[in-house]
Every structure is written in C-alpha cells, then in structure tokens.
C-alpha cells in the first residue's frame, strides 16, 4: 500500500494541466507498464493500457476511465515583471491570492499569486473577492529576466506540496483526479493475480476539466461494451453537508441516475456488500459532470457506471482525501472485473 501512496504523491507533484498532460502521462505510463500488455496513445494524447482477458476471442471489453488532467492557470500577459493569468478548468478565484505556484516557462520558476492592494483596483472591488483578471503572478524575477524566460501561454500549476495528515489522510492539489488514477493503478495491480475473462482497457483521459475530449474520443476508438468511470465527489466538511457529500473514509460513492446504467449500479452494490466494503449511494438527478456524461452518449452508446471517491475542498490546492477510500475503490473495481461473466451484456436491460 505504501507503493500506491508514493505513486499518488508523485502523481500530484507532477504537472498535467488540461491539454498539456504529457508530463503526468509519463508517470502513469511508467506505473502501468508492468501491469498491462500494451500501452498506446489516442489521437488527443489519452493513455490507453490494454490487458487481455482469459477467455477465448472474441472477448467483450470494459473501459475504465480516470481523467489525468488537472485544473490550473495560464500566463495571458506580461506587464513588466508581473504575469497576468487566466484559469484552465473551474477555479474559484477567491482561493488564489497567496498561493504558491510553478510557472512552466523556459525553466520552471517558483511564483506567487498576488492580489494588489485595494487602492490599485477598481473602487467597486474594495473588500470583495478580486476577479482573476486583476491578479498577478510574481516570480521575484526582474523585468528583463521575465522577458527572457516567460512567454504568453506558459502554464502555471499549483506548487502546494503533498501533506500527509493524521489518520491516513493526504492533502494536496490535483487529487481530483490523480486519486482515481491511483485507484485504477491499484486495481490493475490486483488483476495481476485475479483472473478476468473480459479485455480491460485502462484509460487515463485528457481534458475532462474543460471539454471531455478524451472521454468522447477514447470511447469512440475503443468501443467498449461497458465503461466504469472513476472520479471524485464531495466529502462532508466545512461548507458541504448536503445530500451529495459523504464523510471521508465512508468508502466509494456509487452513482445512481440517468447517466448510470441501473444494472451496473446493482452489480457494484452487490459486490461491495459481499466484500464488506463500505459505500454510499451517490444520487445524480441529471448530469454527473464527469467523463461518464460523455461516454454514455458516444457512438452507439456505452452503458456506464460512475464510482466516486469522497474529496474535501475540491478544486483548491488543499484537496483532502482518505487513503482508505482509494484502496477500497481499487479493490472493488478489481473484484467487479474479475467476477464479470462473459454473457453479462445480455443482462443490460434498462428495465
């Protein structure tokens, strides 16, 4: 298990903003390479790991998607020694002032997101949240050094280092969705010793945070019979106590709603209960805002299941996760795959 924790820490220390995932993809490639038969890339840069099943061909396919991209910032302008920024993916600008970041310029430069004092901002802003267009990144470099090293379009990622906290808790940025990548990696590890009939396609998809481009295109290319998507969901904590939030360490949240095929929900629930893995029912009245929304409607349609890991402070650099929830998710998924009978698709009736 410490192996998975160190993979996860490496994943959340590596840059991979939406549209620019190659660095983190290399880390995942290294981790998956001993666990799968083949690795290749989609046209848009998603990573596909193929592990063949034990049955004779033709074998049905299951696709497991975990998006590898993370939210972050981008340099949109340079004013003297200061950098103007915009966001990639959904970031509440209220968390930005005072955040340490890395500017991926001609070299990686440490930087600080700063809010100018109110008297240098429009009067209407006084005391109120400052929109991202008025914030800057200060790298501490002089105007000339910035002109030499930084270009408009350079990526800016959060620099918050992983913090291990009491009770097997990990804090850091990009746990959305590297925690799920770690869970999928754990699942692949378990499948080294668990036999499975179906072909397994592990997909680390790109651009989920902006367009679901990876999910649509990998779904189209692979055309699986089933898809399971692993993402994160809200954990209870300050500011979140609604029906759609679950306590840390309460196990994976199984999705239920129009995006999810009800047979898949029932199957996962059954297995979780057999294995005594705690879980929650994650009710999703409309969309899930994950790759599941895209995969369900790709080509002829793919019956999809969403499993979510509870996460506090989503989309901030201080996301918090319980490591036990990651290991439980990985195990549940491995057992589901191992138990999948070849004739399962005939059970997939919506009624």
């Amino acid at each position: 298990m410490t192996d998975a924790l160190s993979i996860l820490k490496e994943l959340i220390s590596t840059s991979g903003l939406s549209g620019y995932e190659s660095e983190v993809r290399e880390v995942i490639q290294k981790a998956w390479s001993p666990l799968v038969n083949e690795l290749n890339l989609s046209k848009l840069g998603s990573l596909h790991g193929f592990k063949h099943g034990a049955a004779i061909e033709p074998r049905p396919k299951i696709l497991i998607a975990t998006h590898m991209d993370a939210i972050g910032l981008m340099v949109t302008g340079i004013e003297g020694e200061f950098l103007r920024i915009s966001h990639i993916g959904g970031i509440d600008p209220r968390i930005l002032p005072g955040q340490l970041v890395k500017v991926h310029a001609k070299e990686v430069l440490p930087g600080l997101v700063i809010k100018p004092p109110d008297h240098l901002l429009p009067e209407s802003t006084a005391g109120k949240p400052v929109e991202i267009g008025h914030l800057f990144v200060d790298t501490g470099l002089t105007k000339q050094e910035v002109a030499e090293l930084v270009t408009v379009g350079d990526l800016v990622s959060f620099a918050q280092e992983p913090v291990e906290m009491a009770g097997d808790v990990l804090v850091g940025h990009s746990l959305d969705n590297r925690a799920s990548v770690a869970a999928l990696t754990l699942c692949l590890q378990e499948l080294q010793t668990l036999q499975h009939q179906w072909d397994v396609w592990a997909v680390a998809s790109v651009q989920e945070e902006v367009t679901f481009a990876g999910a649509y295109t990998s779904g189209y290319e692979i055309r699986p019979d089933l898809a399971v998507i692993i993402d994160v969901t809200f954990a209870t904590g300050p500011g979140t106590s609604d029906y759609n939030a679950f306590p840390l360490e309460s196990g994976p949240a199984l999705g239920w709603g129009p995006v999810i095929h009800p047979v898949l929900f029932r199957e996962f629930k059954k297995i979780a209960e057999e294995l005594e893995i705690p879980y929650n029912k994650d009710v999703l009245p409309k969309l899930s805002w994950t790759d599941a929304d895209a995969l369900q409607v790709t080509a002829e349609g793919i019956p999809s299941m969403l499993i979510s890991i509870p996460l506090r402070y989503m989309h901030t650099p201080v996301e918090m996760i319980a490591f036990k929830d990651i290991t439980r998710t990985g195990r549940l998924l491995a057992e589901f795959i191992a138990k999948l009978p070849l004739d399962f698709p005939k059970n997939l009736s919506w009624d």
Binding site: R84, V152, Q207, Y216, T217, S218
Partner: protein, 332 residues
C-alpha cells in the same frame, strides 16, 4: 484580396440560410477543385491535393455563416419584432441598418426608456422597414436579415460587416486558387451554422475524417480604449490560438504553427480568448479525435455592423496558412 472581401461582405448568409454566400464561394472555387459537393446541412466541401507518403489529410475550415436577426412578429403598424441568430449584442443593434434576404431594407430602433442607464434588450427593439401597416409589410415572421452597410477601404485597414468570417473565407478561396504543390490532401470546408451550435463543422468533420484540423477565423483584440484585457492587437500579424472558451488547441499543433511562422519569417501573436470559440472546438472531438488548431485574424468590433481588420494581418494570416498546408506536417 480586397475586392474579394468586398464581394463576400456585401453578400448575406445568416446561420441556417447560407445559400447566397455559398453560391458565391462555389462560383469562385469550382474551377480549382478536384472534388466539390454540398452536404445535407449545406456545408460546401472541396478537395485539392493527394495524400503523399509524408502527407496528411487536412480539414481546412472557415465558417460561411454570419450572425443575423429573424422576424418574430409584424405588428399592426408594420413594425417588425425580432430576435437574434447567433450571438447578437443589443448594444450593436440600436440604430443599425439591416437587409432581409428578400432584399427589404430597414433600420433597428427601440422603445423609449426613461432610464438612460438601462441596457435595452432585443425584446424592446423593432425593425422599421418604412411601411405604415402590417398588410404593406414585405417581411413576415421567420424572415432573416443581416447587418447592412458598405465596405470601406481605409488603406491599411478595412471596415465591413461580417468580416467574421468573410476574412477566413477569403483566405481559403485564395488558397485553393494558389496552392500548387503540397504533400497533403486538403479538404477546404466552408461550414454552416458556426454562430449557432457548430453543427456544420461537427458533421463535416465526421464525413471528412481528417488527420488534423486547421480553422481560419477571427479573434478579438485588446487594443481599443478600455477594452477587454487581451494581448492580441491589430498590426502584429496572425494570432495562433492557444485556448478559448471552448477548447485548448492541441499543443503539438501550436508548436508546429509557431515553428512554421518562425521559419517563414511571419510575425505572429499568441491568443488566449476568454469568451467565444470556433469550429475547431467540435472538430477536435470528432470520432476518435482530431488534433486541431486555429489561425486567428485579429479583428475589432466583432459582431457589430462595422468590424475592422488590418489588411497586412490578413495577408500574413494567408501566408501562414499557406505555409502550413503546403508542407509536411510535423507534430512532435
């Protein structure tokens, strides 16, 4: 190219009714196309070039449609109520002249408001076509109109309606005429309905199945008084799109575009657009994915009756696109 743009700009083609502009484009390019057809949504697709060993299939795309207005009701006094087709900004409509597809001309104005600060919405506006009662009105609900106004040549700069995206069209038309030797198979796609939901590009990409997508469209600038904050401005060359509201350009394509511009001695700018997107957004998601990018022509006052471009930027955008499609594509 100026006279071509004038002809294109003075032709109407609101989203969903692109037939007039399509006919004009087709007459310009048919003699130069190895294959040409109009598909079921009205996209005009022409092919030139054969795919060689180190060539790829390129979908080179520019949208034919422009924003417009559509009549919703003719009141008893002959005033025409309307709504927008595509992103129509109310502030640009007040006092604007329009021309319906059937030739009727009119002017937009609004109900009176006592609050000088109020942003008047389209629902409070109407088109006056100069008649006195409904029976005399040559316009009926469902009729479409576009902004009306002459093309103005200021020398270095040019003013016209619908430079979004007649500029892109002009570049594609000139390219298909001029392109000679290329290792690539190039599909020149003039799409419909980009200003609505980009259905044209979606279906065209599905049919063409390109290896890469290049879109030529306009982008906004940040160089007018108290404008939106943006690095792009007139007179600094074509803009290579890094990202916009709907997509992140494939980084390999961005690098290839930058390298090509540098090698060809063409100045360029880098574009990050906060609001708005292009056909590339949907081309990128087609089937198993199509790495895509955009050559953006900087343009002021987009979606107003009088858009403005720097003519040298347009020529350099042409040169960049020419260099991109004439050579082997290297994506590393």
């Amino acid at each position: 190219m100026k006279s071509l743009i004038k002809k294109l700009a003075e032709t109407a083609g609101p989203s969903g009714r692109e037939d007039q502009i399509r006919a004009l484009i087709r007459s310009e390019i048919e003699p130069y196309s190895q294959e040409i057809q109009t598909d079921s949504l009205g996209n005009l697709i022409a092919r030139k070039g054969e795919k060689s060993k180190d060539g790829v299939r390129i979908m080179l795309s520019a949208h034919m449609d422009e924003i417009g207005v559509i009549a919703t009701h003719v009141d008893q006094n002959g005033f025409v109520r309307f709504t927008g087709i595509g992103m129509v900004y109310p502030k640009y409509c007040l006092g604007a002249r329009v021309r319906f597809l059937n030739g009727t001309q009119g002017v937009i104005n609004s109900e009176h408001t006592s609050d000088a600060k109020e942003q008047i919405p389209l629902e409070k506006m109407f088109i006056d076509v100069g008649v006195n009662k409904a029976a005399e009105c040559p316009v009926k609900p469902g009729d479409m109109a576009v902004f009306d106004g002459p093309f103005i040549d200021l020398g270095h700069k040019v003013i016209a309606k619908s430079l979004d995206n007649r500029l892109g069209i002009a570049i594609l038309v000139e390219l298909i005429k001029k392109i000679d030797l290329t290792p690539n198979e190039i599909y020149f796609v003039f799409t419909v309905q980009e200003e609505m939901r980009k259905s044209g590009a979606t279906t065209a990409a599905y049919a063409v199945q390109p290896d890469i997508g290049i879109v030529v469209d306009v982008t906004a600038t940040g160089d007018t008084p108290d404008s939106i904050r943006m690095d792009v401005g007139l007179g600094k060359g074509p803009a290579i799109k890094i990202s916009d509201q709907g997509m992140i350009s494939d980084q390999r394509i961005v690098k290839w575009m930058k390298d090509t511009a540098k090698k060809s001695g063409i100045p360029y700018q880098l574009e990050i657009l906060e609001k708005g997107s292009t056909d590339a957004m949907v081309i990128q998601l087609s089937r198993a994915g199509v790495p895509s990018g955009v050559v953006s022509i900087p343009c002021r006052y987009i979606h107003s009756p009088s858009e403005m471009v720097n003519f040298q930027d347009l020529q350099q955008s042409f040169e960049l696109t020419h260099a991109l499609i004439s050579n082997p594509v290297s994506l590393k």
